[in-house]
């Protein structure tokens, strides 16, 4: 398929899902205009009801977003979807909070509905749902401050999410002023149940399928800068096809049902399906334990995911910016290009603290002989005899190294957010079109 068509396909697919999304959120709300309906109440009261319903469908839809359906995530990239999930969930919680607030302001005698000892079952379930949602937001936004470890948070997040939707649906169904016929109940309960049911898909059906699609740890290799390469080999199947720059969720456990699952970038060549490698820097409990993983350990791979790949964004050449372990996806890019005997020019900026901590330094030097590759190392804390660039990737540094005639090149950035923001800004100021700049915000969780 010509690349132009592929791009158009993704745009159409992206628009299709977007419209479907709006329809799923709004159609059940507007169905409540079908008689029998209660007499219309004042605008703000009706608006608060609409906010409650829109909030409920929004929260329910979050289960669809995080179910990692590739067809749904591919047009956008899963990093975008997860960022959207965080933002829209906050908007939904805001809408849901406005719902009781407006109702009470409209008629303060309703305040007693917020007291679980008075009120009724509909108001009690509504109250429960709001409390659970607030707890969900608090444990997510302040997860690190609360010292919640990732697995505990994940379990909590799923539990809270399911509870919030179930309680909210009970509230709406029992209040029953709007959902007032059997068929309206069926539409609403059906939708909420289907969305919550997606948890079963992600946590039961998908792991069941993964059980038959096993991998094993072939090797753990220590690299510079507290980084380890984890190499996996397929057990009884042909492996996995990915695009250079993508990532996958990895489980290192006897059972695919474990909640301990982490996303890592491929570092190996996309031309090799029978052995895949990941670059993992020791930052948390899971990644620090990688060196102790014995070869032969069972592994499960959910992937590939992500849209940060050179195959989707063809260009006459590439300028890559890596900060620290952000070099991982680019390693896959360079290795794949070398295997493909790709003649296109590549310029890699690789920023890190010290020369000795430069993960994959030797591999990159080797790749220079097989590719049209230039590398600019930028060290914060260079050795005394260092002749190269020092400090950060500044606009002046870019001016010294960016090729004068770089028409048609794509710029890919992966590193700490402050670095990506600074480089992105400098590139835009140097008239690089937005469409040619790709950022990988790999802090997914």
């Amino acid at each position: 398929m010509p690349l132009g068509d592929m791009h158009l396909d993704r745009t159409i697919a992206g628009l299709f899902w977007l419209l479907l999304y709006l329809a799923v959120v709004l159609v059940p709300v507007f169905l409540m205009l079908v008689p029998p309906v209660p007499s219309g109440r004042p605008f703000w009261l009706e608006f608060s009801v609409a906010l409650g319903f829109v909030g409920l469908t929004q929260i329910a839809l979050q289960f669809l977003l995080i179910a990692r359906f590739k067809r749904l995530t591919a047009p956008y990239g899963i990093d975008i979807i997860l960022r959207y999930h965080r933002r829209i969930a906050l908007v939904a919680v805001g809408a849901i909070l406005l719902h009781p607030l407006i109702i009470v302001i409209d008629n303060p005698s309703r305040l007693k509905l917020l007291n679980p000892l008075s009120g009724n079952w509909a108001s009690r379930f509504g109250l429960l749902s709001v409390l659970v949602l607030l707890a969900t937001v608090a444990t997510s936004v302040f997860r690190e401050r609360l010292r919640l470890d990732y697995e505990a948070w994940r379990l909590l997040h799923i539990g809270f999410g399911v509870a919030a939707v179930v309680f909210a649906q009970l509230h709406a169904s029992m209040a029953g002023l709007y959902i007032n016929t059997a068929w309206k109940q069926a539409v609403w309960i059906g939708m909420s149940a289907a969305m919550v049911g997606l948890v079963l898909y992600l946590r039961v059906i998908k792991p069941l399928r993964q059980q038959a699609y096993r991998w094993k740890v072939a090797e753990v290799r220590a690299e510079r800068g507290d980084t380890n390469t984890l190499a996996l080999e397929p057990v009884g199947h042909g492996g996995l096809r990915f695009e250079p720059g993508q990532f996958a969720w990895i489980k290192l456990h006897r059972s695919a049902f474990t909640l301990e699952e982490h996303p890592f970038s491929f570092t190996s060549s996309a031309e090799r399906r029978d052995r895949i490698e990941f670059g993992i820097q020791a930052v948390g409990d899971f990644s620090s334990a990688i060196p102790d993983v014995p070869p032969g350990t069972r592994a499960y791979v959910d992937g590939p995911h992500g849209a940060f790949t050179i195959d989707r964004h063809p260009a006459a050449g590439y300028v890559l910016f890596a900060g620290g372990i952000g070099v991982a996806p680019f390693l896959s890019v360079l290795r794949t290009m070398a295997d493909r005997k790709d003649p296109r020019p590549v310029l890699l900026f690789y920023a890190n603290t010290a020369w000795e901590d430069l993960a994959y330094r030797e591999d990159i030097e080797e790749l220079r002989e097989r590719l049209d590759l230039d590398v600019v190392y930028v060290l914060e804390d260079p050795p005394e005899d260092w002749q190269g660039e020092r400090g950060y990737v500044t606009p002046e540094l870019l001016d010294r190294h960016l090729p004068a005639a770089a028409v048609g090149r794509n710029y890919m950035l992966c590193g700490p957010p402050p670095m990506m923001d600074a480089v992105n800004k400098a590139l835009v100021e140097r008239d690089v079109p937005h469409a040619r700049i790709r950022l990988e915000r790999f802090a997914l969780v």
Partner: protein, 174 residues
């Protein structure tokens, strides 16, 4: 670019959701419904020369606006009181006015956990019909209808009572 676009799309979706919610609210407020002919006809005040036909209108209005809490037979459930005492209340001094006011301005008391929301958004003709329906069909009131027509409701609008003030006016005995 991707993240830039994603931000625009996110804000667009958020805006559209709020616009959608506002559109729904406006349609509801404007009494829009995907409707039937009888529902449309019921919206017009009958000319005063016509007899006040409250039975059908009252039942329909009760089922759409009240039955959700007070149930179709008026027996109530949970923290929602039964309406079957309405006929007895109507006989007390000031009972007729009390019944109208609690519909227009709402009612809150220690007797029940859930407050009665104001139903002032209903049209006079519909509200009058509903009150007659409650008094005569659900709580076995006398043959003469309590309210003569929409005018009885119109007369008691514009008092700016709070639900607690309505409760204070509850007639005590005969």
């Amino acid at each position: 670019m991707r993240h830039f676009l994603a931000n625009i799309v996110t804000y667009t979706i958020v805006a559209l959701l709020f616009v959608g919610a506002a559109a729904f609210a406006w349609m509801r407020y404007a009494q829009f419904e995907l409707s039937t002919e009888t529902a449309v006809l019921a919206r017009y005040e009958p000319p005063p020369s016509l007899e006040f036909e409250w039975r059908d209108l009252g039942q329909r209005g009760y089922e759409r606006n009240c039955a959700n809490c007070h149930l179709c037979d008026g027996s109530g459930w949970d923290q929602y009181p039964p309406v079957t005492a309405a006929a007895e209340l109507a006989l007390r001094a000031g009972g007729r006015e009390y019944l109208i006011d609690l519909h227009l301005y709402g009612l809150t008391s220690d007797r029940w956990g859930a407050p009665m929301p104001p139903m002032a958004h209903m049209r006079d003709v519909e509200l009058a019909a509903v009150i007659n329906y409650v008094v005569h069909q659900l709580s076995g009131g006398a043959d003469t209808p309590l309210l003569d027509g929409p005018g009885d409701i119109t007369d008691r609008r514009g008092q700016a009572l709070s639900p607690a003030e309505v409760n204070a006016r509850r007639p005590t005995g005969r």
